[in-house]
């Protein structure tokens, strides 16, 4: 009974209003390059002090969902991912926008986000205690296997350009090495710059790699092709059921990936979207169109990154373990309101738990009106003539990279990343592997070290066989590397025989 009352509390006018405000604010802040969920939630946190726990959670969960989805709007319209997790969305979203299908691209992103979010809420409400126990099974070896699987995405993402893709991935992994070693904290590759001791942040690199290099490329293409039509949007066009047919399995698979990654503490939505994108590029029947404006890519990235919102609440609520800074703030909000998440919360305060699930589900549904409003606001911005618009894109890029940590070095990192990305693009290197390497690099190194420590004197074979989860993940990784190579070989053989 408590559970039902808790769930229904998310539907009171006050909670619904706060939830919508949260989604709207989150979406607008998320759409601003560099300002992700943490900034959006931090801005709204002081307003929750006077609210009861249910209303506060409705507001913050709205902000959380809205900010993750909002990043895709700028990724699609101006090729500037608002958040790291929407970097994948720009790979096909922006080509769609350039082809005059921005409303459709936003529609795909929005519907996939809503579906992914609702799916994770359903899973969350049915199986939180079981999933929390599953999350506890993840030790160093399993985390290593999961991250390795994420890195193998590089192989499928760079299909047809494997060597340059792999080189770009290794560059990303090396970028993640800059700063203190995760074990001894000794500085590496700082070239004497004190500010690099804390490492290279993801946001400045993403802004530089995707947005600044695009501005430089556009400056060139404008001279050759005359005026490049600025992307504009006529709002949000949701895809029809007919367009969805043949894509449901992809949606379900990506949502499952997002939910599972969300459950693992410390992984995050960016990892989920890259994993899901890599899997979609490997298995989609329309994989040849990836990079040219294929909705499958947007579905994979967006459903996975939004499914993380529900997954991330599993360890937060059931174990009291925050997986990332956003869930840490959520945990702090619970603490402010006198509630301590953990194993006993599910039995002692089910109303709060199910109220949180319901608020998360409602936030996902409210993303549609919020996205329509945000897209209209963006439309005013996009009506500016192309050169002036590009000037503002540069301002937002610099601001985004500075605003993430308030660090001037991040501005310089953005510039350097932008110029290097421009040079690498000209040389035919794919950009996503660099970002994947940087996203997963630190966790990868940490998990290798932990794995070696845990292994001790045990033989490798018995150590690896001790974890069935890790074995399954290793097999998946091997498959993800082998399948693109095999399919390329088969294709080439067919071509030569014909």
């Amino acid at each position: 009974m408590d559970s039902l009352q808790g769930a229904l509390s998310a539907l009171t006018p006050l909670n619904l209003g706060m939830n919508f405000m949260g989604v709207l604010v989150g979406m607008i802040v998320g759409a601003l390059p560099g300002l992700g969920s943490v900034v959006a939630i931090t801005v709204c946190l002081p307003f929750t002090f006077g609210m009861d726990a249910g209303t506060a959670m409705a507001l913050l969960l709205g902000v959380y969902c809205g900010s993750i989805c909002g990043g895709s709007i700028s990724a699609i319209l101006i090729n500037t991912p608002g958040t790291p997790q929407s970097a994948c969305t720009s790979l096909d979203g922006f080509p769609m926008a350039k082809a005059g299908k921005s409303a459709k691209a936003i529609g795909w992103a929005l519907s996939a986000s809503i579906a992914g979010g609702i799916f994770s809420c359903l899973v969350l409400s049915i199986a939180t205690p079981t999933l929390a126990a599953f999350a506890l099974e993840f030790g160093a070896l399993e985390t290593f296997a999961l991250i390795l699987m994420g890195l193998t995405c590089i192989s499928s993402i760079s299909a047809g350009n494997q060597m340059k893709g792999l080189a770009a991935g290794v560059m990303g992994l090396l970028l993640a090495c800059v700063g203190g070693s995760p074990f001894s904290s000794e500085s590496r590759f700082t070239f004497g710059l004190f500010s690099l001791n804390s490492g290279i942040d993801l946001v400045p690199v993403i802004v530089g790699v995707f947005a600044l290099s695009e501005v430089i490329t556009r400056a060139e293409s404008m001279l050759y092709e005359g005026r490049v039509e600025a992307t504009s949007t006529s709002g949000v066009t949701l895809p029809s059921m007919k367009e969805w047919s043949g894509r449901y399995w992809l949606l379900l698979k990506s949502s499952i990936i997002g939910t599972i990654v969300g459950i693992m503490p410390g992984t995050g939505a960016a990892t989920a979207s890259f994993l899901s994108y890599g899997e979609a590029k490997r298995s989609s029947p329309r994989r040849e169109n990836f990079g040219k404006g294929e909705p499958d890519s947007i579905i994979a990235a967006e459903s996975a990154n939004n499914a993380v919102t529900g997954g991330a609440m599993v360890p937060t609520l059931a174990l009291g373990i925050p997986g990332d800074p956003v869930t840490a703030i959520m945990l702090a909000t619970f603490a402010i309101h006198g509630i301590s998440p953990g194993v006993r919360l599910m039995t002692e305060n089910p109303g709060i738990v199910y109220g949180t699930f319901a608020a998360l589900a409602v936030a996902n549904l409210l993303m549609y009106p919020a996205c329509v409003i945000t897209t209209r606001l963006f439309n005013y911005f996009l009506r500016l003539p192309e050169p002036i618009l590009m000037g503002f894109v540069v301002v937002l890029c610099i601001l985004g990279s500075y605003g993430a940590r308030g660090n001037m070095v991040d501005v310089v990192v953005t510039m350097v990343a932008g110029v290097l990305a421009y040079v690498l693009r000209r040389q035919g290197f794919p950009m996503p592997p660099i970002v994947i390497g940087l996203v997963l690099g630190q966790q990868f190194e940490m998990s290798i070290g932990q794995m070696l420590l845990f292994k001790g004197t045990e033989s490798w074979l018995s150590f690896l066989l001790s974890s069935p989860i890790a074995m399954v993940l290793f097999l998946f990784s091997a498959g993800m590397i082998a399948l693109p190579v095999l399919s390329d070989t088969v294709k080439r053989k067919k071509q030569t025989s014909s």
Partner: protein, 150 residues
């Protein structure tokens, strides 16, 4: 530039970067070892892998000759000008704060991209940057760097 030359250039540049990075790993000879793991062990493996990939790209063009499917326009005079404008913006951002640098930076970028109506450009940028300033400072409470004499 032919594709083979381009790949050779890319490959050798990667090897050069790998050598520079490797030289950095030598400066930490007496680092603290955690359970026998040197802080530079992992980066050295990556650097070795990068160098190998660089050689493969340079000497085996067939393996990496495929384009990414992305259209690349030839380098124009605008490219160095745009790079200059971006560098100027970053430099000004550090020394004169957000407002002045953003107006100058955005205007320079627009001029490089071929915009000619300077008066209108300045007006739009002054108003637009002021709006962004207000949004960040008052709505989002994110302090932006200001002109040091302000």
């Amino acid at each position: 530039m032919t594709l083979i030359k381009r790949n050779m250039l890319s490959g050798f540049s990667i090897v050069l970067v790998a050598l520079i990075l490797y030289s950095q790993t030598l400066s930490m000879g007496d680092a603290f070892l955690t359970e026998g793991i040197h802080p530079m062990d992992y980066p050295r493996v990556l650097i070795g892998l990068l160098a190998v990939l660089g050689f493969i790209i340079a000497f085996k063009p067939s393996a990496s000759a495929c384009s990414t499917g992305e259209h690349i326009a030839p380098i124009t005079s605008r490219t160095p000008l745009m790079l200059l404008a971006l560098s100027l913006y970053a430099l000004l951002f550090v020394y004169v704060g957000f407002y002045v640098s953003s107006v100058v930076g955005a205007s320079c970028c627009a001029l490089v991209m071929g915009w000619k109506r300077c008066g209108l450009l300045l007006l739009v940028n002054l108003v637009g940057v002021a709006c962004i300033w207000l949004l960040f400072t008052y709505a989002l409470k994110i302090p932006l760097p200001v002109f040091p004499w302000w």
